[in-house]
């Protein structure tokens, strides 16, 4: 096509750039949520406070021994405080004895 319609010929380079992340392993899952401590991570958006209250209700109905660390004790995971809150998160989760986390709201 190019040689006959004055369309030129171009060897075009890839406009993206190599990814710098390797695959990271996910954490091992839990055998059960009974007796476990679950942290609520919230970006303070989209009715997460109501959603977390409902999740607590639903999960406690199935696992009476489950415990929760409220989003109030974690801080906003989005916005101005995001970098500081996320940087402090691993230590905080350890101190609070957290076994699993629920993060919202992606809406």
């Amino acid at each position: 096509m190019s040689s006959t319609d004055n369309d030129g010929h171009y060897a075009a380079l890839w406009p993206r750039s190599p990814r710098q992340t390797r695959l990271n392993k996910l954490a091992a899952r839990l055998a059960t949520l009974e007796g476990k401590t679950v942290a609520q991570l919230w970006d303070y958006l989209f009715r997460g406070d109501e959603v977390f209250a409902l999740l607590e209700e639903g999960l406690k109905a199935k696992y009476p021994g489950i415990r929760f660390v409220s989003w109030r004790d974690i801080g906003n995971t989005h916005g101005s405080d995001e970098r500081a809150v996320l940087a402090a998160l691993p230590k905080k989760l350890k101190e609070l004895g957290v076994d699993a986390a629920i993060s919202g709201m992606g809406c």
Partner: protein, 462 residues
């Protein structure tokens, strides 16, 4: 939200991320960039913002709870590495139309024809920087790709830039990488678009339009550099519509706003570059994303007292949900931009008003009632926890936001006068202004000095 989940997973804590129905695709795309493509998400039907309490209850208890349990107790699928081309690979060879078809089909272009990025073209761009082509300026989310000098040149070629623009393009990517800017938020649903403000002698050296029609396409440097920004956000940051870019509506890219420094110097007002901490005469770029704005037409008056009430009214009218960046998500990060035509700035300056005095006036008068302020945060934008009195008591916001319990008291829309930004450009002799609505912490205002290579000799117009 997924970034928080990734931090937990790396720390050995299993997670589930709550994702509304319309955002499942974005979650999948973002997870790849985080290096955790199978990070589990818990489906939330519909959108929580449009559901009654009963509907929300039914959806969370009936659907989401079980997904949460599965995600935290069942092993997720095994992720596999995917292969991609190398940084300098040629991905397609052919004629102009065929290259453009390939680039469009592979989501490399914005829908308009691009200049095919060949080695020869890229080499021309690299001659206008002292930086090594392989230098990595940083890693850009959400795709976590390397921001290299090479990739800047490639996308600059595609955008139709001239090689001489390369120092500006590098400065732009440096600014994009500033953590304060928050490039990772560029796919948020308000779908704002970045405005680039250019300052310094480079405006004239490279032939940028800084007068009438300054925000109109049709001027090669203003237009192509603006297009470069959007292409780089697409190709290297990785914001693709229907994937990581969740703009509800979106905008096309904005052309570069070059300030009229002739007028600024004449009236004794510092250019935007000085406001951003640089020296007068430095070549600089300033970036921030704006979700909208509006023209303020026919500002009448020969004195500031006659002009400022109208401009102030326009500033308040362009500030609605954005106050979540003043109190709430952003906490003092709202920076409205007021663009004045030269004749307006000259009239204000003639009366002895400095830029600072104009900003102080906006701070003192661009206000809304506390009731309206709180209603927007609490009732209208679904953040039931916000309360000005509580935020002041906790020391999180300035006291001026709660000097009494009167709901009709007037409160400012920013934390301090300097949060207002003022730029001067456009038709020198027309009495119009423009107010830009800022995206706050999700695209905070940052600036960078443009570093010119040794032996900088722009050849444009010669």
């Amino acid at each position: 939200m997924l970034r928080a989940s990734a931090v937990c997973e790396k720390a050995g804590v299993p997670t589930t991320s709550l994702v509304c129905e319309g955002f499942i695709g974005q979650a999948a795309a973002t997870s790849i960039g985080l290096g955790m493509p199978t990070m589990p998400v818990a489906f939330v039907p519909g959108h929580t913002g449009a559901q009654s309490k009963d509907e929300l209850r039914r959806n969370i208890l009936g659907v989401t709870v079980d997904r949460v349990i599965d995600n935290l107790t069942a092993a997720p699928a095994t992720a596999r590495e995917t292969s991609e081309p190398g940084a300098r690979d040629i991905v397609f060879s052919g004629g102009f139309d065929a290259v453009n078809r390939y680039f469009y089909e592979h989501e490399f272009s914005d829908g308009l024809p691009v200049v095919p990025p060949t080695r020869e073209k890229v080499a021309e761009f690299l001659r206008h920087t002292d930086r090594d082509a392989d230098e990595v300026l940083g890693v850009i989310l959400p795709d976590s790709r390397a921001a290299t000098i090479w990739s800047i040149a490639v996308n600059g070629v595609m955008a139709g830039c001239r090689p001489e623009y390369m120092p500006i393009l590098v400065a732009l990517v440096e600014a994009m990488l500033d953590p304060a800017y928050g490039v990772e938020h560029s796919g948020n649903t308000p779908g704002g678009e970045t405005l680039i403000i250019l300052n310094g002698p480079i405006i004239k050296e490279l032939g940028f339009n800084y007068t009438q029609g300054v925000l109109r396409d049709g001027f090669l440097p203003n237009t192509s550099v603006g297009r470069f920004w959007r292409l780089y956000i697409r190709n290297v940051a990785g914001f693709l519509p229907h994937k990581n870019d969740k703009a509800t509506f979106g905008n096309t890219w904005r052309v570069v706003l070059a300030e009229n420094e002739d007028v600024l110097n004449k009236i004794g007002w510092e250019p935007n570059s000085v406001e951003m901490g640089f020296k007068n005469g430095d070549n600089t770029v300033t970036i921030a994303r704006y979700t909208g704005g509006n023209l303020v037409s026919s500002v009448s008056g020969s004195t500031p007292e006659e002009m400022m009430p109208y401009l102030t009214d326009a500033v308040v009218k362009q500030t609605s949900w954005q106050i979540m960046f003043t109190v709430g998500m952003g906490m003092g990060t709202l920076r409205p931009l007021i663009l004045l035509s030269p004749i307006l700035a000259e009239t204000l300056a003639k009366a002895g008003w400095s830029k600072h005095k104009v900003k102080q006036y906006f701070f003192d008068h661009a206000r809304m009632t506390a009731f309206h302020f709180e209603r927007q945060l609490r009732d209208w934008t679904l953040k039931p926890i916000w309360n000005l009195a509580e935020e002041v008591r906790a020391g999180r916001i300035p006291k001026i936001f709660h000097e009494s319990n009167d709901p009709d008291r007037m409160v400012p829309i920013v934390w301090k006068p300097e949060d207002f930004m003022i730029a001067v450009s456009g038709d020198p002799l027309r009495t119009n202004a423009y107010v830009f609505a800022h995206n706050g912490v999700l695209a905070y205002t940052v600036g960078r000095r443009i570093k010119l290579p040794k032996d900088w000799q722009p050849t444009l117009g010669k």
